[in-house]
Amino acid sequence: MIAAEGLVKSFDGVQAVRGVALHAADGAITGLLGPNGAGKSTTLRMLCTVLVPDSGEAWIDGAHTVREPLEARRRLGVLTHDSGLYPHLTARENILYFAELHGMARAARERRADELVEWLEMQSFASRRARGFSQGQRIKTALARALVHGPRNVLLDEPTNGLDVMAVRNLRALLARLRDAGHCVLFSSHVMQEVSALCDVVVVLARGAVVARGTPAELRGATGCESLEDAFVKLIGTDEGLG
């Protein structure tokens, strides 16, 4: 479970996030939807403790992100929008490195890597070096790395950016499986179809603030729009930056 209240963050005097509150429940996929520059990435970076909010608070399963950042990180798996693999390490070594950083014992690391390789169907490339991986292989490796310590909460920042159709379909299926396994999944996107196809709850961000929240159906109902896309345009007041 991820909760945040009144998050504010400025860079060089420009407010990127102004008072974001959100709640992402276990066993559900929560989508953070907004145009580019709405503050999605900044919000997620505060949730994963990489950035410290100017004001406001956030908790990961009750662990405070500023006061106990290491606790919060232990409960969180993070997939950044660029997979950021180490090209000279194999997929498996990439996974094991993060398992080790999470302080897992050797036997547990190996076992968990085996599990993830099987679960994500990575057998064909698990022992190849990451240089030259396809997008699908990269995203799977990065996801395995994010999940290696068995976090209940998973944060994904624009995970489908730059992925081809097959990789996107794959990722969607994986996120659904995570939800069904009881995880709290929070991901950001500026792509409407993705959010409407996948999310149980949508939080719409525009210019650094939450402008609406609810299930896709609720959002359509509240705005009186037929499609989520129209609802979205109406909510953020502009059709700039939509994918």
């Binding site: 970076r45 994963c48 403790t49 990489v50 950035l51 410290v52 290491l70 606790e71 990180r73 232990r74 969180l76 993070v78 997939l79 950044t80 660029d82 997979s83 950021g84 693999l85 180490y86 090209p87 000279h88 390490l89 070594e93 490195y97 993060f98 080790e100 950083l101 999470h102 302080g103 070096r129 990065a142 790395r145 994010a146």
Partner: protein, 398 residues
């Protein structure tokens, strides 16, 4: 920071960085090939060149062209008796100048018509020596000719004084005697002075790419953010990276020293009355004396690379910054400073003095060695601390 998990994480980061670098051709080539191979090669080649040139010069007879040799047969005979290769030439003034300039006759001695007459009359007898002072080679030969002629003149002066009943020794109130106390080792040190310079450069080069890769490279590949989201204190991450860079520097240092010892075997220093004391014991001691500088160098490289935005920018900066540790050595060489407690405390300078002393076979004051090691390690600690601070900045992610 809880120590045990932080140390474990440091070790994890260190292992991963070392493993990745061992698989990266660029890092490997710069760490294990460029420094350790080219440094000693350059050293050996330039030494060989020096040795050969000096040996050739010692053998060479001094050759001197003389115009109107018939006007001073005694002088010519005297010069020939002192191993001067005298060539009698007939050239006019303009042709003489031309011959000197074109090096056809680098040195021409011209004997004026009234030479014999003035000598007989005990008046100063002029001689004209044509040389090109801008050419270092003929300059040295010219000095030899001048000194030989001066000796000839002095012997005539002695005879004249004796003929007038004056003790020639009155003319020599002071006699300076040169006593050369240099040992073969200390003589070779002036030449081997560049060894410490090369060793430091090769060592730093060894860890350079790892330092860039672990900081600017990591950020450019976007692997930094997931890394920062792991439950590891940021200091532990950066300390592990610095340690990995220092490890590669040490590796490069060891290889460079071994390569130097091997390369110098092929230089015929012994023929020349020099000996490079670079046996296993000295090599080991030089490594021990230089190693404490590795953390400081790795820390410096990491701190600078942490400021930069991209791999390329880091490369540009570090190419310049890697010269910084060698600056004190250049300065000391120019100012000809001797080791003192204060200078030993300057990192890289302390190493330079220790290396030089080891090469000369001089005794090393334990306090000096201790000061050098302690100050280098302290600087390494300071840089590591600074890198840790930099890694806590939020702007790190760019």
């Amino acid at each position: 920071m809880a120590w045990r998990p932080a140390l474990a994480a440091m070790a994890t980061v260190w292992r991963k960085e070392v493993r990745e670098s061992l698989r990266d051709r660029r890092t490997l080539v710069s760490a294990l090939l460029f420094g350790p191979l080219f440094g000693p090669l350059i050293l050996a080649a330039s030494l060989q060149f020096l040795v050969q040139r000096t040996a050739e010069e010692a053998d060479q007879r001094l050759s001197l062209a003389i115009r109107h040799a018939e006007r001073a047969p005694q002088l010519v005979a005297w010069l020939e008796a002192r191993n001067v290769d005298v060539r009698r030439v007939t050239l006019d003034e303009a042709a003489t100048r031309q011959a000197v300039l074109t090096r056809a006759w680098p040195l021409v001695l011209s004997i004026p018509e009234d030479f014999a007459a003035r000598l007989e009359g005990a008046r100063p007898a002029p001689l004209l020596l044509y040389s090109d002072a801008s050419a270092s080679r003929t300059d040295r030969d010219g000095a030899r000719v001048r000194s030989l002629i001066a000796q000839y003149g002095a012997s005539i002066a002695r005879l004249r004084l004796l003929a007038r009943g004056v003790d020639p020794l009155l003319q020599a109130p002071i006699a300076v005697q040169d006593i050369d106390v240099s040992t073969p080792q200390s003589r070779s040190v002036t030449v081997l002075g560049m060894l410490s310079y090369l060793v430091l450069l090769a060592m730093i080069l060894g860890g350079l790419y790892l330092a860039i890769d672990a900081t600017a490279g990591e950020r450019e590949r976007h692997s930094l953010e997931p890394l920062l989201a792991t439950p590891v204190p940021r200091e532990a991450l950066i300390y592990g990276k610095i340690a990995a860079s220092a490890t590669f520097m040490l590796l490069s240092l060891v290889l460079t020293m071994v390569a130097c010892a091997v390369a110098l075997r092929f230089v015929a220093l012994e023929n020349f009355g020099m000996s490079a004391r670079l046996d296993a014991g000295v090599v080991a001691r030089i490594i021990l004396a230089t190693a404490p500088l590795a953390p400081a160098a790795a820390g410096l490289m990491t701190v600078v690379a942490s400021f930069t935005r991209s791999y390329r920018e880091a490369q540009t900066w570090l190419g310049v910054v890697m010269l910084v540790p060698t600056l004190p050595i250049v300065f000391v060489g120019l100012a000809d400073l001797q080791p003192s407690l204060g200078l030993m405390a300057v990192p890289s300078l302390g190493q330079h003095f220790l290396i030089t002393a080891l090469l000369r076979g001089d005794a090393i004051t334990p306090l000096y060695a201790l000061v050098s090691v302690a100050s280098s390690l302290a600087l390494g600690g300071a840089f590591a601390w600074l890198a840790g601070r930099l890694y806590r900045r939020e702007s790190l992610l760019g």
